[in-house]
């Protein structure tokens, strides 16, 4: 148990500190209220961003999986001879190779210009290759 002098000191200091809290001036009280609102608003924004942060990896993973599936199963194109949307008839490894080559061509502006220069030649080469795979190249 505390001695009376200690108890008196504790009580008096508590009373003084509490009075100084109660007597805080209005500008300080107002600033504290503003600070509280600002903190709660910022925390709200932060929590929304955190929600997005949780979704971002899932969205990225889904996109990567979708891209992987698309690359694995190869391009779906129009078979001019059959006139319908079909999968190309080459084996998967060759298809992937073709897809990557196409990607290179699309990515390279020079190659696109080359293709545009002589579209008829490439059309003929494609038809000739389809007719007799051993005769071209």
């Amino acid at each position: 148990m505390n001695d009376p002098a200690t108890t008196r000191l504790e009580e008096r200091s508590r009373a003084l500190l509490c009075a100084s809290v109660e007597n805080l001036d209005m500008p300080t009280r107002s600033r504290l209220t503003q600070a509280r609102h600002a903190a709660l608003a910022a925390a709200g924004r932060g929590s929304r961003l955190r929600d997005l942060r949780w979704w971002a990896p899932a969205a990225g993973f889904s996109a990567a999986a979708l891209l992987g599936v698309a690359l694995w199963f190869g391009p779906v194109g129009i078979d001019r001879h059959a006139g319908s949307a079909v999968r190309m008839s080459s084996p998967p490894a060759a298809e992937n190779q073709t897809s990557l080559e196409d990607l290179d061509i699309v990515a390279s502006a020079d190659e696109m210009e080359l293709l545009q220069d002589d579209v008829e030649f490439y059309d003929w080469a494609d038809r000739a290759a389809s007719a007799d795979p051993g005769s071209v190249g």
Binding site: L16, V21, A39
Partner: protein
């Protein structure tokens, strides 16, 4: 027993008012705001006693509010108080450390040296509008000033223990959680703080 009795029960559950996530978040925000409103003035006074500068005290309190709301709002509300004061005390300590570094750097630079920590505080700063009569107020203000001076002379951990127990009214366990130390250490710090204050204020009080 009807075949779909369980299904009916399930429908009743399904149709009942399920607590929406937004409502729960709103309730939590309201509760947190209530908590912050309740403690903000005492927290400000604690920071002001430690830092002397009201602007610095305001910054530290706001920062503590923000960190609590951002990182610990999901914790049970019973844990908010010790967590908040732990964040606040860490903020106060960081600021004091920065000041001390700044002071050391400024000591090397030429020019007039002004040390804001040694400025005598104006007793009229703590005088508020209204309230007690002027003589009582002056005596109260003078006593408060003496108490503040004595509190500032205490080591930081003793001052923390004294203010958390005496002003904020935390028990030993909560104070230990807020200070990040054992309950035995809290008792030791508090006891030393009281003895030091008695030695300084005993004659005046």
């Amino acid at each position: 027993m009807p075949r779909f009795a369980t299904l009916d029960a399930a429908w009743m559950v399904w149709d009942g008012p399920a607590p929406a996530r937004e409502d729960a978040a709103l309730d939590q925000t309201r509760e947190l705001e209530k908590f912050l409103a309740e403690i903000e003035r005492r927290a400000f006074r604690m920071a002001q006693v430690a830092l002397r500068d009201p602007d610095d005290a305001m910054d530290v309190v706001q920062d503590a509010m923000l960190k609590l709301a951002r990182n610990y709002a999901a914790k049970p509300s019973a844990e908010w108080r010790p967590l908040f004061y732990r964040i606040l005390e860490n903020g106060i300590r960081d600021l004091q450390r920065r000041r001390s570094v700044r002071k050391r750097v400024m000591a090397w630079l030429p020019g007039p040296k002004e040390d804001p920590d040694n400025e005598a505080s104006d007793p009229l700063d703590s005088v508020a509008d209204g309230g007690p009569a002027v003589p009582d107020l002056m005596m109260q203000s003078e006593a408060m000033e003496q108490l503040e001076i004595s509190l500032r002379q205490l080591p930081a951990r003793q001052r923390e223990a004294f203010l958390l127990r005496n002003l904020e009214g935390l028990d030993v366990a909560e104070t230990a959680a807020a200070m990040g130390c054992s309950q035995g250490s809290v008792k030791t710090h508090y006891s030393r703080a009281v003895h030091a204050l008695r030695a300084q204020l005993g004659e005046v009080w």
